[in-house]
């Protein structure tokens, strides 16, 4: 059965991936393609033949994109750097850049609050920074999304309530040695705050699967951008500290107290802006990374299983290992999400679905082993915050991987459509945020703030 729509989408995706065509050009070419197909089918040609002939007439995609590249490479960058021709959108773009710069500074200023209160980075209270890191970086992103989406008042109230509530709560909680709950708070607060951000990202339609998937894509890209910018920043900081030493100026203090704080906390909003801004203009990198790392991750997991089987060394023997297992599984979930966000739900089953299925199944086996390990530790030595948090995360991941595995299995057998898996996965995501919020709110008092 020939599926015109999915073929056209594929063709368009193929052209887009060449990178030299903008959305406008793609739209124009698609309109041409459809005109041509209509013309041919009215002359009695089947849709499939009409599609093939029309594609052929449009020309080899590579030659086409090269030809476009000559005209548009320059203009793609021009579009990126210089405002669009329309006056009102030009003004909005200028405002946007100013806003993002302002918000990045705001994040930095928030990051300076502890220093104002007498807790510098070099004092004995670095945990204040760790604990509050999400609250320095994320409000700017929230404000940016509110502005970008022109969200109604109730979203602004929601955002304000969440951030102020979180800030008050975690700073009222005391923290005592060995600071386990503080570190858990730092990590889980970030995950919990992704839910309000997802709501702001989606606006009134945030419940829709498609919107949630868009947010997943957005978050993934922001992550990649942040890492890239962060690496660049780190290199710059290291080089400048060294270079200034040669002229006997010690800038380390200044750099650590100002550049690192402003750069570090302002990073996310800048990355968010970049992702929003270049949306659709240049091929997204997440799917490429997913294709590279999904098979590699599969190899790692299979080797790990083999190692456990051969050596007979159960992972519970080592305390640190359990946390690393959780991270590994989170990575599997992340890869699956990346793959999901890059995949056209209408595409038939293919090689990559089988790879993801294998990945999920192996991850499940690994998770079962890890879970047994954690459970036995909790039973033996009683619950510590770290063990309980690792256990909770593991149960959530296990449930997730089970239905992903079942979903992919049934999809490969052509029992269900791919969309069913996506729907299920997107509905499950808030569970992680809710659990993370629980860890932030309930764990510290439960364990005496230790």
């Amino acid at each position: 059965m020939f599926e015109l729509e999915s073929q056209v989408r594929k063709w368009r995706g193929h052209l887009r991936s060449s990178g030299s065509l903008g959305e406008d050009e793609l739209e124009e070419l698609e309109s041409h393609l459809r005109d041509s197909i209509d013309d041919l089918t009215t002359r009695g040609v089947t849709t499939e033949e009409a599609f093939l002939v029309s594609i052929r007439r449009l020309g080899d995609t590579e030659a086409l994109s090269n030809e476009f590249a000559k005209v548009t490479t320059e203009s793609v960058w021009r579009q990126l750097l210089v405002p669009a021709p329309d006056e009102s959108s030009r003004r909005r773009q200028r405002t946007e850049v100013m806003l993002v710069i302002g918000l990045a500074l705001l994040a930095g200023l928030l990051g300076k609050i502890p220093a104002l209160l007498g807790w510098g980075l070099d004092t004995d209270e670095p945990l204040v920074y760790v604990k509050n890191a999400s609250l320095f970086a994320l409000p700017s992103v929230a404000v940016y999304l509110i502005w970008k989406r022109s969200l109604p008042l109730r979203f602004i109230f929601l955002a304000a309530a969440v951030f102020i509530g979180a800030a008050v709560l975690i700073n009222l909680y005391p923290s005592r040695s060995p600071y386990d709950t503080v570190l858990l708070t730092a990590l889980h607060l970030f995950i919990a705050l992704l839910l309000p951000l997802a709501i702001l990202y989606g606006g009134p339609g945030w419940r829709k699967t498609g919107t949630r998937l868009d947010f997943v894509r957005f978050a993934g890209e922001v992550f990649i951008y942040s890492v890239l910018i962060g690496l660049g920043g780190a290199v710059l900081v290291a080089v400048s500290i060294q270079v200034f030493q040669f002229v006997d100026v010690d800038i380390e203090n200044f750099v650590v107290n100002w550049a690192v704080i402003f750069g570090g906390f302002g990073l996310l909003v800048v990355a968010a802006y970049l992702v929003e801004w270049k949306k659709g203009r240049i091929e997204t990198i997440a799917p490429v990374l997913a294709r590279i790392f999904t098979p590699l991750l599969l190899v790692v997991l299979v080797s790990l299983l083999l190692a456990i089987l051969i050596t007979g060394q159960a992972p519970a023997e080592d305390r640190e290992l359990l946390i690393w297992f959780d991270l590994l599984l989170a990575l599997v979930l992340g890869m699956t999400l990346y793959t999901m966000s890059a995949r056209d739900a209408e595409d038939p089953t293919g090689f990559w679905d089988a790879v993801v299925f294998a990945l999920v199944v192996v991850a499940l086996v690994v998770d079962a082993v890890a879970l047994a390990g954690i459970a036995s530790r909790v039973a033996e030595y009683g619950a510590t915050p770290n063990r309980l948090a690792a256990l909770g995360a593991n149960v959530l991941l296990l449930v997730n991987l089970v239905f992903l595995g079942l979903g992919y299995g049934r999809f490969l057998l052509r029992r269900v459509r791919y969309q069913v898996i996506v729907d299920l996965q997107m509905r499950y995501l808030p569970v992680y945020a809710v659990w993370a919020a629980l860890v932030v709110i309930v764990f510290p008092p439960l364990f005496g703030f230790r």
Binding site: E28, H32, D35
Partner: protein, 119 residues
Amino acid sequence: MTGMNISKDLVAASATPIVLAILRRADSYGYAIIQKVREVSDDRLSWTDGMLYPVLHRLEDAGFVVSHWQVAESGRRRKYYRLTEAGRVELERLTEQWLVVHTALERLTDTAARSDRDV
């Protein structure tokens, strides 16, 4: 449809004046322009459809045409191109150049024909 293949260079060089000339008659969009070229050249000027668009965009960059999106009655969005005043001037300039070439060729082949007869 006959075996007459017009060289690539010639097709490329003639594309600009032909597109401009078509747009002088009426605003049009890519697919219709291609159809028109086929029609007026009796199918002998064959372009790869896709190659028209870089040409159109170059003309737009140069200010010879302007474009706007319009929704056809079928609901399909099409990008229409309109000739600008600068485009009109450019078309005249190009047509003149082609006429010079055309006349020169004609004279030469005429002389050739005459000298053939003379022999």
